[in-house]
C-alpha cells in the first residue's frame, strides 16, 4: 500500500493497537519543562511508579524564567519553586536537565533541534503544544497534556488515535520580504484555526523544499494554530546537513546508516491524504494579524474584512479595530522578536540586516529574546548584539519571555505589540495586551518606523 511520510513513521512506532481504540505509540524522545511536568512527577510518586526510560527524556527551564540576571536566584517565588521542583525531579529520576545558566539551556523547541536531539523519523512529545516544531525534521512531534506526560514517564508510550492526514502544498516563487512566518500565517488565515483539528499535516512543495531548517521550524511550529496536532516536512539534504555534526546526532558510520534510513522518509507517489490544499507562493505577502486568534490574518497592506465570524466583533472590540480598517501607519509602541516560532539565529540575522545603521523610533520598546544560550552566543559572535544595541533595541537572555508573559516580560494593558510569537489570544502577552503577529522583518521594520509600515517598498 502507498504510504505517506506520516504513515511510515507512525506505523513503525505502534507497539499495539487497542481494538476499537487508540494505538500504543512508542515515543523516542520526551522533552519536559518546569510548567507542565511537576504534576506528572507527583502522579508517579503517588502510584509508586518509577520513570521507565529516563535516558530518553531531556529537560530544560524556559517558560517562567526571567530574561535578565539569570545568574541570580529567581525573584518570583512561585517560579523559583517550580524550577526547584524540576531540578529535584530530574535529579531523583536521572533525567538530563539543561537548567538556567547551562550552555545548552533554551526554549525546549529551540534547544533540542540545535543539539541534534531532534532527528528525522523519530516520535517526540512534550507537554507543550508547539512541539509540532520538530516536525521540520520529518519527525512525528506533538504536544501532550500533563496526564500524558506521566504516561510517557511510566511507559515511554502514549495512547493516541492515529490522526487523519492532511497535505498543504505551496509552490512557486516567494516575493521579496516574504518570510516563512508569512507563509504559515497566510495558510492559517486561509484555512482557519480548526481546519487541522483531527489531522497531522504534511507541508509539501518547492517553497518548503527551498526553506532553511529554521524556516521549516517556524512553519511546523504553528501547525497547532490551525488545530493540527502536528506538521511535518520530508527530510532532505538541507535536513541532513543541519543535523550532521550536532552534539547528539549520530557520528561517522552511524550517521551514514541513519541517513540511508532518513532518505526513505518521504510520501510515496499517489499515497492518499484525507484532505489536501494548494496555494501559490506568488499570492503571499507579508502578513499581520488583526484579531485574537492566529487565523485572523491579512496582508500588511490589506484591510480588516467587513464580515467575519460570530465572535469577530468581540475580537475587534478587544483589539480596538474596526471592520474595513487598514492597519498601515498604526502607531505601535512594542515589538517582540523571540519565542519558539522565531528566535533562531536566522530570525535575528534577518532582523539585524534590516536594522543595521537605523534607529528604533522613540515611541517603541523593542525586545529581542534569543531562543537559547547557543543562539545568544551566535548573536554575540556574529556581531549582531552591536547592531541591536546601536539601534536602541534591548537584547535579553533566552526564554519564552513575552510570548506568554509568565515572567516579568509583559506588554502593558491596551498597548499594541508586533510580535514574532505564535498566539494573539486575549491577554497572551500580559493582561489587556494587544498582539499583532508578524515576521521578524515586519517586527524590525515596525520598530524602526514606530508604526506598521509597508517595508517591502524599501527592499532592493
Amino acid at each position: 500500500m502507498k504510504k505517506t511520510l506520516f504513515d511510515k513513521i507512525w506505523d513503525s512506532h505502534v507497539v499495539e493497537s487497542v481494538p476499537d481504540g487508540p494505538d500504543i505509540l512508542y515515543i523516542d524522545k520526551h522533552l519536559i519543562h518546569e510548567v507542565t511536568s511537576p504534576q506528572a512527577f507527583n502522579e508517579l510518586k503517588e502510584r509508586d511508579i518509577s520513570v521507565f526510560r529516563p535516558d530518553q527524556i531531556v529537560a530544560t527551564a524556559d517558560h517562567n524564567t526571567p530574561t535578565e540576571n539569570q545568574h541570580l536566584p529567581v525573584k518570583d517565588l512561585l517560579s523559583r519553586k517550580q524550577l526547584k521542583e524540576l531540578t529535584q525531579n530530574c535529579e531523583e529520576n536521572n533525567i538530563t536537565l539543561y537548567n538556567l545558566g547551562h550552555p545548552y539551556n533554551g526554549i525546549v523547541h529551540v534547544m533540542a533541534p540545535e543539539l541534534g536531539i531532534t532527528q528525522p523519523g523519530m516520535t517526540m512529545v512534550c507537554g507543550d503544544s508547539h512541539t509540532s516544531t520538530h516536525g521540520a525534521f520529518g519527525t512525528i512531534a506533538f504536544g501532550i497534556g500533563t496526564s500524558q506526560v506521566s504516561q510517557v514517564f511510566a511507559s515511554q508510550c502514549v495512547l493516541v488515535q492515529k490522526p487523519k492526514k492532511l497535505r498543504v502544498n505551496v509552490n512557486g516563487k516567494l516575493k521579496k520580504g516574504v518570510l516563512p512566518k508569512d507563509v504559515i500565517l497566510y495558510i492559517i488565515s486561509k484555512l482557519g484555526t480548526n481546519s487541522g483539528t483531527g489531522y497531522f499535516c504534511e507541508y509539501a512543495g518547492n517553497v518548503f523544499e527551498e526553506m532553511s531548517m529554521e524556516g521549516r521550524m517556524t512553519v511546523c511550529n504553528m501547525s497547532i494554530e490551525m488545530g493540527a496536532r502536528g506538521g511535518l516536512i520530508a527530510p532532505d539534504e538541507t535536513t541532513f546537513e543541519y543535523v550532521k555534526g550536532k552534539e547528539f546526532a549520530p557520528k561517522g558510520e552511524e550517521f551514514e546508516s541513519a541517513k540511508a534510513y532518513w532518505e526513505t522518509l518521504k510520501t510515496d507517489e499517489d499515497a492518499d491524504f484525507d484532505q489536501e490544499y494548494s496555494f501559490d507562493a506568488e499570492d503571499i505577502e507579508p502578513m499581520i494579524t488583526y484579531g485574537t486568534n492566529p487565523g485572523m490574518g491579512i496582508k500588511i497592506t490589506g484591510a480588516i474584512p467587513m464580515e467575519g465570524g460570530k465572535s469577530d466583533a468581540k475580537a475587534l472590540a478587544y483589539m480596538g479595530f474596526k471592520p474595513g480598517e487598514s492597519l498601515l501607519e498604526k502607531p505601535i509602541n512594542w515589538i517582540f522578536i523571540g519565542s519558539c516560532t522565531n528566535s533562531r539565529i536566522e530570525d535575528f540575522r534577518q532582523a539585524a540586516a534590516y536594522i543595521k545603521g537605523k534607529q528604533k523610533a522613540k515611541n517603541v520598546n523593542a525586545l529581542i529574546v534569543p531562543g537559547s544560550r547557543q543562539v545568544a552566543a551566535q548573536i554575540e559572535a556574529e556581531g549582531l548584539r552591536e547592531v541591536f544595541e546601536n539601534a536602541g533595541f534591548t537584547l535579553r537572555q533566552p526564554g519564552c519571555s513575552a510570548c506568554l508573559a509568565m515572567n516579568d516580560d509583559k506588554i502593558p494593558a491596551g498597548e499594541y505589540c508586533v510580535s514574532t510569537s505564535n498566539r494573539n489570544f486575549e491577554g497572551r502577552q500580559g493582561q489587556g495586551s494587544r498582539t499583532i503577529l508578524a515576521s521578524p522583518l515586519t517586527a524590525a521594520a515596525t520598530a524602526v518606523s514606530g508604526k506598521l509600515t509597508d517595508f517591502t517598498k524599501h527592499l532592493n
Binding site: D20, V35, N64, E85, S129, S155, L159, R423, F425, Q431
Partner: protein, 204 residues
C-alpha cells in the same frame, strides 16, 4: 479517576467561539506544582475586571445560570496544551462540556480528568443555547452509556460520538497509566525488536 455514567443538570451557556486555553486559565496562574486551586481562576480575565470585581455580563457570573454542564461555542479548548484548563473546569464544578467542536489536545486532557467533552452538531448547539437562555432552569441529560444528550422536557436529543476505549475508561473510572503499565512487557518486546532492526538494516 471518577466514574461518569449519566448526568442530569442545568447548564451555563458560553456563547463564544474559539475559546482558547489561555482564556480558560491564563498563563500567569500556571505556576502551581499541584492540581489544586485552579477553579478560582477559571476564565479569570473574563470573569473579573482589572480590579478583581466580577464582570456581571459574563455567563458564569449571571445568577440565573448554574450547573455542572458548560455549553460553549465552536472550537472549544484551542491553543496551548495546558491540562490546567481541564483541571480548572473540573475544580470549578463542571463535569461536562458541550460544543460543536473541540481542539484535540483539550479533548484528550478532559477525558483524562473525568471531564466529558460532548460534541454535538452546530444546529443542536444553537438549539441548546436557545433553550437555556429561554429557561435557565431547563435540565439537560447526558447519558454516556447510550451516547445521547437530550433536553427531556423539550423532547430534544442528539447522539454523540466517543472513542469506545475512552468510553469504557470513563464509565469504569480507569485511566491510561494503569493500562500502559499493564503493557510494559509488550513495550519492552517492541524496544528489542526495534533496536535489532536499527542495527541490522536501514529499513524500519
Amino acid at each position: 479517576m471518577e466514574k461518569f455514567i449519566t448526568l442530569t443538570d442545568t447548564a451555563v451557556p458560553l456563547e463564544i467561539e474559539n475559546v482558547d486555553t489561555d482564556q480558560i486559565i491564563p498563563a500567569r496562574f500556571l505556576k502551581a506544582t499541584d492540581k489544586s486551586g485552579f477553579g478560582e481562576n477559571l476564565f479569570r480575565d473574563w470573569r473579573f475586571d482589572n480590579n478583581d470585581e466580577p464582570n456581571p455580563e459574563f455567563a458564569l457570573n449571571k445568577p440565573e445560570y448554574k450547573g455542572s454542564i458548560l455549553v460553549a461555542g465552536d472550537n472549544f479548548g484551542c491553543g496551548s496544551s495546558r491540562e490546567h484548563a481541564a483541571w480548572a473546569l473540573k475544580a470549578y464544578g463542571f463535569t461536562v462540556v458541550v460544543s460543536s467542536y473541540f481542539a484535540d489536545i483539550f479533548k484528550g486532557n478532559a477525558l483524562n480528568n473525568g471531564l466529558l467533552p460532548v460534541q454535538v452538531s452546530p444546529e443542536f448547539l444553537d438549539q441548546l443555547f436557545v433553550e437555556i437562555t429561554k429557561d435557565p432552569s431547563v435540565e439537560i441529560n447526558v447519558d454516556l452509556e447510550a451516547q445521547k444528550i437530550s433536553i427531556p422536557k423539550g423532547d430534544i436529543s442528539e447522539s454523540f460520538e466517543i472513542d469506545p476505549y475512552k468510553k469504557t475508561c470513563m464509565i469504569n473510572g480507569f485511566d491510561d497509566i494503569d493500562f500502559l503499565v499493564s503493557k510494559l512487557d509488550a513495550i519492552k518486546e517492541y524496544e528489542q525488536k526495534r533496536s535489532q532492526k536499527l542495527e541490522g538494516t536501514t529499513a524500519l
